[in-house]
Symmetry: C3
Subunit: 173 residues, 3 copies
């Protein structure tokens, strides 16, 4: 039996992280937090510290901005579940640092790693396609790639929630 894959979608400040962490607390005794954001400035450092304090000491934490498939495969076997946050930041990292061709390769590797994960997973990702067309080409390209990635993840997921103002709508469950 494949362990469960849950996808939490939502806009900026929609309560995705808090909701996903609560799910992980309920489901996992020894959760692993797999962070894709890099700590590049004091604002980000403060946000990461606040997240850590909220989660509590029994969480393990790994940071991996690019090789998400590898990080999932290498993750500590003592952990009984993984929360990945967030896929949209990971996509932006790969697109900006490695280019569009790398997105396709890494996405395939990620989808394979998700399908063969020995542990249940909770993924957090941003919905970014509900505004008007971005003015600049990178914005349009990123919006396309993010939308396609979310479709791929939703297809693989056993459960998908879309959050607005902290409240979930379950699209699949």
């Amino acid at each position: 039996m494949t362990p469960s894959l849950t996808l939490i979608l939502g806009g900026a400040r929609s309560g995705k992280s808090t909701f996903a962490e609560q799910l992980a607390q309920e489901r996992f005794r020894q959760p692993l937090y797999l962070a894709t954001a890099e700590c590049t400035d004091p604002e980000m450092a403060a946000r990461i510290a606040a997240h850590r304090a909220r989660r509590g000491p029994h969480w393990r934490c790994v940071e991996e901005p690019l090789d998400l498939a590898g990080a999932l495969q290498a993750s500590d076997p003592a952990c009984d579940g993984v929360l990945v946050e967030c896929l949209t930041t990971w996509l932006a990292n790969v697109l900006v640092k490695e280019g569009e061709a790398a997105v396709a390769t890494r996405r395939q590797a990620l989808l394979a790693a998700l399908a063969s994960s020995p542990r249940p997973l909770i993924l957090v990702s941003n919905e970014v396609g509900l505004g008007i067309v971005p003015e600049y080409p990178l914005g349009r390209q990123f919006r396309d790639l993010a939308g396609w990635l979310n479709q791929d993840l939703a297809r693989e997921a056993h459960a998908v929630a879309f959050l607005v103002a902290g409240l979930p709508m379950w699209l699949k469950r």
Copy 2:
């Protein structure tokens, strides 16, 4: 028993106002319309006049761009329900005119006023976090504050609807 608090969320031109006014017409005999938008230009004046004509003469109307908590507490006791439109405009007013520190203070006062309201309330607010990351810092700051405000309001509310194309999805009820 606390009077009911209903939050109506949606994007621009999603039919939030019309839906909220219909709810208020159904529920209140003598509704108060508490407007946060200021009449600063002819386009706005025309829009406000059209809203008034649509609502009809039995509505009372108060305008308050900043001190929403005070306006709620001072509202005419003859009114048996209040429609506040909209919270996102109020947030923008406070942020631009008084700064980010004032947002925190006024938000606390607003949440306290909502919790102690002697009358049922219907609040209208915009969901603004579902596009790509804004290019300019004020846009990002406003988007964060608007999302957190909506989460706070949704937590307090007894019922929350998210509107798309004039049609409600009830997230809480």
Copy 3:
């Protein structure tokens, strides 16, 4: 009995097209694809070719960027259902090429053509109002017109779905 009108709403890369095509495949033996996008550059040509290949040879295809009402009325009587993609591109075409006054006229004609259609219809349209306020006036104007159009279409439609990551939420059915 009026033939059914189904509206498929969603953001960019939300899976609207694929979902709408699957509905049309299930419902129509001889579907007509009514495209509003013009083939103006190689990227668009490639996308149109990919769409055609996906749909298969039994589809008929008509392109009409502006006179959508006329194209619906003139459509091949041998077809037993029409998929229109997409209304937001049509709106942008009319606004940019003919101006705002033409939008009102063509929208009225479109709504009349939808109401009197002898064939079932599936319409695809973008939700664009869930980001922050656009910086430039044309962006704000387009966002308003697109939101009002979606409300008009949703009011006429017998069924309305809102897609996120390829998954439908039925707002009306």
